[in-house]
Symmetry: C2
Subunit: 411 residues, 2 copies
Amino acid sequence: MNIEIINTGSELLLGLVLNTHQQWLGRQLSDLGCEVSRQVCVPDASRQIQAALRQSLARADLVIATGGLGPTGDDLTRDCAARLLRRPLVLHPATLSRIERYFAARKRPMPASARVQALVPEGAAVLPNPNGTAPGLAMKAAGKWLILLPGPPRELRPMFAQSVVPLLRREFPLSIKFVHRTLKITGMGESVVEEKIAGPLRPLVRDGLKIAYCARVGEVDVRLAARGPSAAALVARGAEVVRGLLGPSIFGSGDDSLESVVIRLLTGRRQTLAVAESCTGGFLAHRLTNVPGASAVFLGGMVTYGNQAKEDLLGVRAATLRRHGAVSRTVAREMAEGARRLLRADYALAVTGVAGPGGGTAKKPVGTAFIALAGKKGTTVLLQYSPTDRETFKFAISQRALDLLRQALPA
Amino acid sequence: MNIEIINTGSELLLGLVLNTHQQWLGRQLSDLGCEVSRQVCVPDASRQIQAALRQSLARADLVIATGGLGPTGDDLTRDCAARLLRRPLVLHPATLSRIERYFAARKRPMPASARVQALVPEGAAVLPNPNGTAPGLAMKAAGKWLILLPGPPRELRPMFAQSVVPLLRREFPLSIKFVHRTLKITGMGESVVEEKIAGPLRPLVRDGLKIAYCARVGEVDVRLAARGPSAAALVARGAEVVRGLLGPSIFGSGDDSLESVVIRLLTGRRQTLAVAESCTGGFLAHRLTNVPGASAVFLGGMVTYGNQAKEDLLGVRAATLRRHGAVSRTVAREMAEGARRLLRADYALAVTGVAGPGGGTAKKPVGTAFIALAGKKGTTVLLQYSPTDRETFKFAISQRALDLLRQALPA
């Protein structure tokens, strides 16, 4: 089965927006056992959209096009597909009333232009959009499937899960079994992970196991996949080998994030968490509160960017700040202990460091951070050095902090 | 001038890695006045790489291909280009010694496979790589330019700036002037923006002004561009029309973010800011602290997820919480005033709401939030309703909060 993705949008080619659809759709499709053979991005121009659609439909069994279904003048994909497949656009009354209700619920007048989103190529299946106005469209032509999805990720993603996956399962039932599993590792780099596991996995690879490594900031994914009747057994044996070799460095699998694992562990133990952040500036709290249900265990925290705030909000002693400086082992400890005490939490994480670009010194260069974990049994402080840009630094430091807590919470 | 980008890499199509090259290169090229007309991503397979190179060279004047220049078995781009253009691969001695020095400097033995990176298609220009081993390659064939760049962004980006930009300026001297400008708008949707400005801009569009809209969460970008001798005047007149129509909704231009604008305005006025966050859970502080230099004006804040934390950390009254509930106008006000007082800040922003998926009621459904701004002159509270997923909700609410502060800070 041959799949191609077409992303439409001048803003993508102009570099105004990052194209996240390619990765997201690629990942979803490969997890279903379908590999994308080509992805193309074209501007909002009828000639180029039509050419891309025609070329992809000539090569592929399934073409997924994103973007260009909205109400504005540069939304051309619906028109281009209708013209290419010679299907007139017809009004879909159920969609029109859904769009009208969408605006009414938000107490906003419906612009006249919004109506165009209720026009669909004759015979196309309408994929509902609970998160926006433009529906998705699916149509079959000359034995090929063409699926059009809206551009905004928060509309496209649920629509893919709710409407496209069932369509694919129905129209392209997998002739062979496909099994995959992703193990998520933190605390070591990609080359170290590969060095440790590639050799021991070699016999399974000879039997058909496929391994893919993916390095992210503070995280390495190992994806094990196999096809055929022994696929499940192969992947299970591979996962067992990796677990045996990397044990405590594996924090989860599939779509687990370190924050979701930590919230899950705390919830299971009915324990609570507070945070005190300097250099991560709220990012640690943000990651924790991205997890639905976090409010059961995450009490809150302080972002103490200035020294005065560290004293006023966390009770860090002025003498400690004077003697050791804000970026120090002792201040990290006092921050964690202050947050734990003030929020009456079982655990508190604290971070203080130099995010850069300014503020570095010879002794404490940009990238230096101290991370403290306070709990009933005392406080642990560790030093982490991540010289990089500001946002990557925040991620790396929060990752290390969450992992410090995870390792203190045996499942 | 017609430009195409080819990204090679099976990991991109499997969705294991996000393709950031498309956006980065698109942005660099469009800022030089060169628009990318198509981007293609193909897997690490000779047949598909060659087909993509052949098709793009047939259409474009310049083709930039990324990835596949390294030493491993799936690095195929150099070979494919050499074969397609019928140029033998020859050893480039200066590159070989540079690669040898690269390993020596890191006290690592040079693997035999690394040598292949010193082979270049006969006659190709070698683009130095100070950040890695594989050089870039540039070659002209049948009047077209083909440029091959290494996959890792930290190698590709400096190489583009140092070697590709001078080559483009030399080989494609812009015969006509190119000017562009992006205005950033918040507080209204894309279709409303277009409805307001498209008509009045029509005469300028007839004269050659190009308009592109880009909708993000809580933000619409309007990019005005023009070519030719009157380009600067056309763009300036376009920007004037947009400013006249959307005035206070325009928060910045170019790469401005709402957080960077707010930090800049506060810095100019030597005023300070504190935040108190419930439903945004640290995200507002995170956005503010992403701005280099934020520490001069952003003092810090509290993430008060639980009611107890709202009382303990911000002095919200228990009676207020009982009578009005945590998600209420009065609690938002007390949170903002508490944070302003405790952090001794000129301004404080507070947010309390229902992020979902749980916690909604008939009166306060998921997506409801109250945003308060406390300042010397008193406190303003507004209600915002954004029923969406958890992360989009956090963004939309923080965007509205930052804009509330921006509008209170005339430049």
